[in-house]
């Protein structure tokens, strides 16, 4: 019997490492279903444009999508709280756990299904490593160093960086590197060492600043057409649902491998200076969030989400942070002098 084919379009192009991450999901689903299900992973633009996948899943143009909620925050700003919102002290793993165990999923369903009336079901997976502050032509140590910079980012991070005194330019992905070279922008962030490297960031800037609070807890969004999903046999539904959890671990392992190797390449072969963002700038980012949060909380649903997140983080991260041994100390012990935190 011919397998059931699920058309899943991503928001990434074929060369992006994230397309591999989407294929990780496809192979898991195919194997777990014993070949009864095939996931056809299509790149952005194959059926609809990258930012149109939510509309497309809702309309049933594609059965599923692999994307991030921040891409549709123009429809409802609350979308940005599922991954790119304020950082209260929890990592992406903390916030992914909030989604599955701390009430996040119910809020997400309330937003998509009740408030927005969409015919979609969404699951989150792959807790992304915090996104770097980004690429700069010169050293930046203080907030004063940033003043007047034209900086490229997306989503709520744009509001955040504007509050740091930079003017935020919004450029389509493919124009970032030429725009840097031509001085249309002075700095930018994209996502992670692998994507940044594939993009050619190292050709236009040599200072790469890691650690930032602007997008520190994002995960992928696996969107399914609700009508499509609910028509499937229960075991297939379960495979599609728990496949997200399986892919999450597979993606994390692959990201650890590839991201770290590409960071080594940038440092050793591409002449990039890798540093951690200064404490002063990180403090300023938190202050900027302080200013943004009341603006967001003017909306009752956003207030409800943020309360739920704060509750979760205040308890869970207390445990996480209290419990975590100082990994840096151990690293320093075995690889002395290699790292500067």
């Amino acid at each position: 019997q011919a397998p059931l084919v699920i058309k899943m379009q991503t928001s990434w192009n074929d060369a992006n490492i994230w397309q591999d991450f989407a294929r990780d999901y496809a192979t898991r689903v195919e194997e777990m279903s014993g070949g009864r299900v095939k996931v056809d992973v299509l790149p952005a633009g194959a059926v609809v444009a990258a930012f149109q996948v939510l509309d497309a899943v809702n309309d049933g143009l594609i059965d599923a999508a692999h994307s991030v909620p921040v891409y549709w925050y123009g429809k409802n700003k609350a979308a940005s709280l599922f991954g790119t919102g304020p950082v209260f002290g929890g990592s992406a793993t903390t916030m992914l756990s909030w989604f599955y165990q701390g009430g996040g999923q119910a809020l997400y369903n309330e937003l998509t299904q009740d408030i927005m009336g969409l015919d979609v079901v969404g699951y989150m997976g792959f807790p992304m490593f915090a996104q770097p502050f980004g690429w700069f032509k010169q050293e930046v140590n203080t907030v004063a160093d940033l003043q007047g910079f034209k900086y490229r980012t997306v989503g709520l991070a744009a509001d955040l960086m504007a509050k740091l005194g930079m003017s935020v330019a919004q450029l389509p992905g493919g124009e970032i590197v030429p725009a840097m070279e031509r001085g249309v922008i002075d700095a930018f962030e994209f996502n992670n060492p692998s994507s940044d490297k594939d993009f050619g960031a190292q050709d236009v800037a040599k200072n790469y600043y890691l650690s930032s609070y602007h997008q520190a807890s994002e995960s992928f969004e696996f969107l399914f057409s609700k009508a499509f999903l609910e028509d499937l046999d229960p075991d297939i539904q379960a495979i599609l649902k728990y496949g997200v959890e399986a892919a999450s671990t597979a993606n994390t392992a692959k990201a650890m491998d590839r991201y770290s190797a590409d960071l080594q390449f940038l440092q050793n072969d591409a002449g990039v200076t890798v540093r951690r963002t200064s404490k002063e700038i990180l403090d300023a980012q938190l202050k900027a969030w302080d200013e943004l949060i009341p603006e967001l909380e003017a909306d009752p649903f956003m207030k409800k989400c943020l309360d739920s997140q704060r509750d979760w983080v205040s308890r869970v991260s207390y445990y996480e942070l209290m419990n975590a041994p100082d990994y840096g100390l151990a690293y320093e012990h075995y690889f002395p002098g290699k790292i500067k935190l």
Partner: protein
């Protein structure tokens, strides 16, 4: 029938020409962005959004006007050798089979798409300026309605072409430079002969 054709031509032309002036606004708006960015070092957050909204509105609202003036490109190296009668027969079938299903979808499905966006109060994700785009999505419906009306006029044109073997041309108001020059050259030539 002829009066309906004139009505549709005028309607399409009125909308098309009105929205055509967006190009001037677009030049000035984008020019302003360049000025404030390089001279004042203070770029706007809205220029990119506003420029694509103007561009999209401009070409969508110009679709019917362009159709009425025969401006949509055709693969016509065989077609133009045919009699108007024959051209009319081909066109009338294709207007019904090719043209109307899609244009109807612009109205019906476009309405659904725009209403949904209107309910969210959707804004552009390109910038923190929060430029609204729900009204921009409604342009799809408006363009569909104009094309639908113009399409009926085109069908009327085909009927007349089939009956009388000539095309009712739209009142031409502007010409490409090359067409204008060719007309003048031909006219001068005729004057020369007579």
């Amino acid at each position: 029938m002829v009066s309906f054709i004139r009505f549709a031509d005028n309607l399409s032309a009125w909308f098309g020409k009105s929205f055509a002036w967006l190009i001037l606004l677009m030049s000035i708006g984008t020019g302003y962005e360049v000025f404030v960015r390089y001279v004042m070092n203070n770029p706007t957050a809205w220029a990119l959004d506003v420029s694509f909204i103007m561009y999209g509105t401009l070409f969508m609202m110009g679709g019917a006007y362009t159709l009425s003036r025969g401006g949509h490109v055709r693969g016509d190296f065989i077609y133009r050798l045919l009699q108007p009668k024959t051209q009319g027969k081909i066109d009338i079938v294709l207007y019904l089979v090719f043209f109307f299903p899609g244009v109807t979808a612009l109205i019906v499905s476009g309405w659904k798409y725009a209403v949904r966006s209107w309910q969210y109060g959707e804004v552009s994700v390109n910038s923190p300026a929060g430029v609204p785009i729900y009204q921009f999505k409604a342009v799809i419906v408006a363009a569909g309605i104009l094309l639908f009306i113009q399409g009926i006029a085109q069908v009327c044109r085909c009927i007349i072409a089939i009956k009388h073997n000539y095309w009712i041309e739209a009142d031409e108001d502007v010409f490409e430079t090359e067409d204008l020059l060719m007309q003048e050259a031909n006219k001068a030539e005729k004057d020369h002969i007579t």
